[in-house]
């Protein structure tokens, strides 16, 4: 078998995609761009001095000339000189100061006084169907600039957003390549899909992983109802608006090349028993139980340490990125063209993520009134993900438990197997599993739109936006014949699935901007939009491939047809929306928003939902009475309320669906049956969230220190939940029902301080969110269960009224019985038949009798832990000195519990698996330990039931990113036509401070929103180091 072939296949697919992209790039109406070259001009030498706001010289400021590569930097006395054409425009910039543009003309001597940058106030934010200046915003909006996340070695913007904005929690669901995690804005807003709406360049519904992070100009996060109500239907979980970079009009061609490469390695592995100790403890189980020792544990052949399976599984990963961006523009047209390739190979063999991306954005002025703009994004993604979530077959789970006395491969080349003995568990050799994984998911995606804007009257514009988002997804999974592993597969099979998805967006809206009498500023936007979603796919699977070579893994080769399936779905949204913002004298601000949405997901009659919102703002610092308070440079208070919707559930739930395909056989003949697959809910309708928000913006020291505080209460009502289902209903799917209420409330703060002293620039920023989540009402006061753990189906998490979503639920333990006297006198088990039957022995766990009935049973369980952090925070420090720049980004979560289910099973001797190394410290006599129960083959006392014994604090503080860069002096680079060349080293997950004993405290969700931070031996995040460069010319 040729092992390189799957890669070749993937490469071929990539190549095809490349050709496609190239073709498109050529065929697309590329804007002809030429730098405006006018009549002959005269060169002059100019001199100048640059001063700061106090009149002191400002060294290190950059002076460039528009439309040329000429430029210089002011010296220690703030002086500069430069030879330029007499029609040149100078651009003077310095970090922390407002950039100035100066016409040269006849002047040759300049004194330029810089003023501190107030961009953070005049900064323009994208707020949906328009932009607003930050100082006018009355809702809660966070903004992350593209520069903050540029060139981080991550597959997508979601990961890069982690910890960057208050109230925006990016929950990492393990570290598998391409796994972007879950974004939770202002807490988990619902038990169903709580993902925010993603809008990429005006097209709702895209995926953040599809965007090359280096193409991103900014990401705005609309957090409160007032800000996001304009997207009413889908805004209940917040809105993330991604705006990509564009060219400027009258700008010469500029190339930017980004490249980085690096390696990643495991941060930590779990210490497990070595073979001799394992045999010792396994024998002790039998001896303690008075049973004959299974002879396999006396067999010296399996008592020599051979393999550390985790080290075999977790190798070195690599990350690579290269992208090239070209921007430019003339008087009428501008464009941005970019192509890139990103590849991440994970620490585990055969876990990869590759993205080939292409982007073309352009803007055109047809005349003074008529503008057309366009965005096009094409990506091709190839992903291979190992199974790291199952506590019965997951590869990392298996590596922790596979017998350490077996070699990876036997001397004859075959893989070692636990078929040897039932004492070795039902685990396949994890290296065998991973090396034979052939599971590729490829998708080719398109996201694009064309916008037109016509100015009818001054300030009154009619606009239209037509968008298309589509994807072709192709999945392929080949399972080889496995005879010599315990989980055998007697017949090989190939499954292929193919799905086409596309969404069509049409938006028509008008906007009106006008200032009346210099006091009344009015902004209105309103319109109508529709979006349709079509999906159509099929899959096929065949069995019995005579030849398993990679070049034979095609459906044609399979001898036996197994299945062919196909289906189609259609959904649509239709909406009216409007927003009015009014500003009186830059002091009093009002915004009112309304949206009405119809969704095909609900039954006729229940389709339309209405979502109003308003907010008020008062810029106190603009009042006359405030002018004397010198140290506060800006003060704004805001407040708002609004209602938002959520319809992010499967469609057609109002119908009782009958599906065919129920297989059975009669007398060896295949038959197919049809049965109801879902109970209908005729009344299903919107879930809504009412949110109240209070905000405070405050600036000190001429806005060098800026602070923002927001307090919010978000009540989710009519929550769409598939309620707890008693088994007597059967296995049919239960529809979502509008039951349940949820409250999230919290405080968010963001602080930025920046200062420039000579060549030194530094800024420190931080953000923190304190959010509480509570389910305030559930169906019948009952709970909602969640994913069970492992072979024994242990319950870990339940969602109860009055508690946070996904609370840990179980018994409470109180150490270990040291003696029989302790057992006989323990009030917890005074009436417990197991005590009298002699089933509880010294070395067993003492569980607490919570209901005081003298015995331990299921009624002694309660909520034992909260998986939601009380505080999520990020800290960012940036330091620039001359040509060096250093940035440190720390991330922290505090005040939450992790349920270490992997350890619960890892120290449980009743499983036929290897155990955690700490198990050697088991109880083996009075006073030996109060932590780890005795060895036994029996579960008489269920020592390893779900209890607070395995609950750990999850708090962590990690240096998420560290970037050290050096920009070559311009005088060097300009000689070779390079405007800017920067080299850098980036470290990811450089260090972590945590008391958590597992591999990684960032475990994420394992069952929708219903289970969080439970350790299933997930794919851990790696520590990675990359080197890279950015070159502009």
């Amino acid at each position: 078998m040729n092992k390189t072939l799957p890669i070749e296949r993937a490469m071929r697919r990539c190549l095809f995609a490349f050709q496609l992209l190239a073709l498109l790039a050529v065929c697309l109406p590329l804007t002809a761009v030429s730098a405006a070259n006018g009549e002959a001009v005269r060169d002059v030498t100019i001199r100048g001095t640059i001063l700061d706001e106090t009149g002191q010289p400002l060294p290190g400021a950059t002076v460039t000339v528009t439309g040329s590569s000429a430029g210089t930097v002011s010296d220690i006395d703030g002086n500069f000189s430069l030879t330029v054409p007499d029609d040149a425009t100078l651009v003077v910039s310095f970090i922390g100061y407002a950039t100035q543009t100066i016409q040269v003309g006849n002047q040759t001597e300049f004194t330029i006084q810089m003023t501190p940058d107030e961009t953070s106030l005049t900064e323009v934010l994208v707020v949906g169907y328009g932009t607003q200046e930050k100082r006018d915003v009355t809702g809660a909006v966070s903004s992350v600039k593209g520069t903050a996340i540029q060139n981080l070695p991550v597959s997508g913007a979601a990961q890069a957003l982690q910890g960057r904005a208050a109230g925006v929690n990016v929950v990492r669901n393990g570290g598998a390549p391409g796994n972007q995690g879950s974004i939770r804005i202002r807490g988990t807003g619902t038990l169903n899909n709580a993902d925010p709406l993603i809008i990429i360049d005006g097209v709702p519904g895209g995926n953040l992983n599809d965007v090359n992070p280096n193409n991103i100009e900014s990401i705005e996060i609309l957090k409160d109802a007032s800000a996001s109500a304009i997207y009413g239907t889908r805004a209940a979980n917040g809105v993330v608006i991604v705006t990509t970079k564009r060219g400027d009009f009258d700008q010469p061609l500029k190339f930017e090349l980004n490249g980085y490469t690096g390696v990643s390695n495991a941060i930590k592995t779990i210490d497990v028993l070595e073979a001799p100790d394992l045999a010792l403890l396994k024998r002790e189980r039998y001896t303690n139980d008075g049973l004959a020792i299974n002879p396999i544990w006396e067999n010296p052949a399996y008592q020599t340490q051979q393999t550390n399976w985790q080290e075999e599984l977790l190798g070195q990963g690599t990350t690579q990125n290269v992208d090239l961006t070209l921007t430019g523009g003339n008087k009428n047209s501008s464009f941005m063209l970019s192509g890139g390739y990103f590849e991440e190979k994970g620490m585990i063999t055969n876990s990869n993520f590759r993205r080939l991306s292409f982007r073309l954005n352009s803007d055109h002025k047809i005349n003074d009134r008529f503008k057309i703009g366009q965005n096009l994004q094409l990506v091709s993604i190839d992903q291979v993900s190992p199974n790291t979530l199952s506590a019965q077959t997951g590869v990392l789970w298996s590596a922790i438990r596979f017998h350490p006395g077996l070699p990876v491969q036997n001397p004859d080349g075959s893989y070692s197997s636990s078929q040897i003995s039932g004492e070795f568990g039902d685990i396949n050799n994890p290296i065998f599993t991973q090396e034979n994984l052939d599971n590729n998911n490829t998708s080719h995606k398109l996201l694009g739109n064309v916008q037109a804007e016509y100015e009818l009257l001054e300030g009154l514009k009619v606009r239209a936006n037509f968008g298309l988002e589509g994807a072709i997804s192709d999945g392929s999974n080949f399972n080889i014949i496995v005879n010599d592993q315990i989980r055998a597969n007697p017949r090989n099979s190939l499954s292929r699935s193919y799905n086409e998805y596309y969404s069509v967006l049409a938006e028509y809206f008008v906007s009106y901007d006008k200032v009346f009498a210099d006091l009344h500023k009015v902004n209105f936007v309103g319109g109508y939009t529709t979006q349709t979603f079509n999906s159509d796919g099929f899959s096929a699977s065949k069995l019995d491939f005579i030849d398993e070579s990679f070049d034979q893994r095609f459906l044609d080769v399979g001898q036996t047809l197994n299945s062919i399936n196909g289906g189609k779905s259609y959904d649509a949204l239709a909406s009216y929306f409007g927003r009015v913002a009014y500003d009186y004298d830059e002091r009093y601000l009002v915004t009112a928003t309304f949206r009405s949405d119809g969704s095909s997901k609900f039954a006729p009659g229940n389709r339309w939902g209405y979502f109003p919102a308003f907010s008020l703002g008062w810029r106190v610092s603009e009042e006359d009475f405030f002018q004397n308070i010198g140290f506060i440079s800006n003060l704004k208070v805001t407040g708002g309320w609004g209602s938002l919707g959520n319809q992010n559930v499967p469609g057609l739930q109002y119908l009782a669906l009958i599906s065919s395909g129920r297989r059975y056989s009669f007398g060896g003949n295949q038959t197919v049956g049809a049965a109801q697959t879902r109970i209908p809910n005729l009344n299903i309708t919107w879930e809504s969230a009412q949110m109240t928000n209070f905000g405070l913006d405050i600036g000190f020291l001429e806005n060098r220190l800026l602070a923002n505080f927001n307090y919010f209460i978000k009540n989710t009502k009519d929550m769409l939940i598939a309620p707890p289902t008693i088994g007597s209903i059967g296995t049919a799917q239960i529809p979502n029902q509008n039951i349940g209420e949820l409250r999230n409330q919290g405080l968010e703060m963001e602080l930025v301080f920046r200062e420039t002293k000579g060549k030194l620039f530094y800024s420190v920023s931080g953000n923190a969110s304190f959010i509480q989540n509570e389910v305030t009402q559930l169906a019948d006061g009952n709970f909602i269960g969640s994913r069970l753990y492992g072979r024994s189906s242990q319950e870990l998490s339940r969602t109860y009224e009055g508690f946070p979503i996904a609370s840990f639920y179980g018994w409470r333990a109180d150490g270990i019985y040291q003696s029989n006297e302790e057992i006989q006198s323990d009030a917890n088990i005074a009436n417990y038949p197991r005590r009298t039957a002699g089933l509880i022995q010294p070395g067993d766990v003492r569980f607490i009798d919570l209901n005081n009935d003298g015995l331990i049973d299921e009624t002694d369980r309660e909520v034992i832990g909260n998986p939601h952090p009380k505080v999520v925070y990020g800290l960012n420090a940036e330091l620039g000195y001359g040509n060096f720049d250093l940035s440190l980004f720390f991330l922290g979560n505090a005040g939450f519990d992790i349920y270490n289910a992997d350890r619960m099973q890892g120290i449980d001797p009743t499983y036929p698996f290897n155990m955690y190394a700490e198990t050697i410290n088991r109880w083996n006599g009075q006073g030996s330990t109060n932590e780890i129960p005795r060895m036994t083959t029996k579960r008489d006392n269920l020592n390893h039931r779900t209890s607070d014994m395995f609950l750990e604090r999850g708090d962590f503080f990690r240096l998420k990113n560290m970037v050290l860069g050096y920009t070559l002096p311009e005088m060097l680079t300009s000689r070779i036509g390079v405007t800017r060349a920067r080299f850098y080293v980036t470290g990811q997950n450089v260090f972590i401070l945590t008391g958590y004993s597992g591999m990684d405290p960032e475990l994420g969700y394992t069952d929708g929103n219903l289970q969080l931070n439970a350790d299933f031996a997930q794919y851990p995040q790696a520590r990675s180091w990359t080197i890279g460069t950015t070159i502009t010319f």
């Binding site: 109508y528 649509a572 095909s600 007398g667 049956g673 296995t731 319950e795």
Partner: protein, 477 residues
Amino acid sequence: MKKTILYLLLSGVLLGACDDSILETVPYGQSTSSQFWRNADDAIAAANAMYEPLVTHDFYGHAEHTFDIPSDDQFRAGDHGEDQAIESFTFDAGNPQLYYSWRHKYEVISRANAVLINVPDISMDQSLKNRTLGEAHFLRGFMYWRLMVIYGGTPLILEADVLANEYNKPKATMEEMQAQIAADLSIAADLLPESHGPDDLGRAHKGSARGLLAKLYLYQENFAGAIQVGQQVLDGPYPLADDFGDNFRVETQNNPEMLFAVQSLQGWRENNHVIYSTPRPWGGWDFHEPVQDLIDEFEEGDPRLDYTVYKPGDMVDLGGSRGLTPYTEDLSSTGYHFRKYSSWRPQGGLNMSHNNPILRTADVYLIVAEAKIRSGQNGDAEINAVRQRSGRAPLTNATMEHLIHERRVELAGENQRHQDLIRWDRAGIVDIVAIYQKDLGPLKPPRTFERPKHYLFAIPQREIDLSNGVLTQNPGY
């Protein structure tokens, strides 16, 4: 100019605005219950779907067999730690084994209820309609039977409950359960055909319904009923196979003696119990190992032993490259494996088309024999029919002791023994406590059966929790 704006605005907005039809969608490729139930094809498809859950891994594919591991026939083996508590009567209501098959049984009931509600209104061939309704009554009765012997009373969900959307019901009493099972099986016996053609082997027929009804009557100590209904089976077209082993071979497993079996077809819908009961090095998962005490129960030279277990010295053709392979003692911790559930493909590997027997005519012979003996009649004819097939000497004036022996060897490993012992203990015929106290070696040490607690398993704790207090636990748990 102003008019133009107005037109532009209006046309843009109105264009889509008044068009709500964009929100209309349909379930492509699926039917709704209002479109289904049109004709005989739909009725048959719905009937086929009732059988589908039976073969699921969490039901007869594996989990259902766990309810027999407390018996003195077998050691649980395998690597499911929770099984140890079941085997030793130390389980509590949270033990996951108690839970696995619960929902699948109710799924069969739910699909049967759907047939019983909708099929009567379909205009179709009457005999086909009768068959379909009969299958629904049989499967519903069969499910409540399994629920009843395992848990005692459980919620009885019938047509009216489905129409009223009422699923969270309290436990029915034992009497209500039995009355419902008897009613369903009686109606099924009326509606179902005597037998099926080759394309429909494995569907329930009159013999399936009457055989199970006879068993119910025996459990109710309605001996006259058991004899009467059982005799109808024995008089029907359901003769014992000539060879006991025919019941456990893929080629002959659907012979007339097999009154009901969960069907399995390789590559289509497979019965995992085949893998569970097979030794590890032979590609299995090594559960349910017979103990020496069972082997010793077989009379010297009883050919049924060879079909029932793999024992050291047996040569087994595993097919493919392995071919004829000796069974050795080290393949099992007790030295044996059950053989009734495995056969091998010529090209190697387990033959996954091996069915899972539920009810055989031999069982009905022994039911009738037991009913006769316990009601003071002579059961020799029935017990000897079973014995003579396997070359055993006929008995005269057979006693319950003979009957108990015969059931144990004839039906070993067929998920009967634990329930048989409970039935006999309740009637004062055996002392189950003493039987389970017997030391059957280090793998099967004495276990404490508490009377009456362990006559029933515990209702799964998860169901009790989900019922919000409606469902109550069995006494003693």
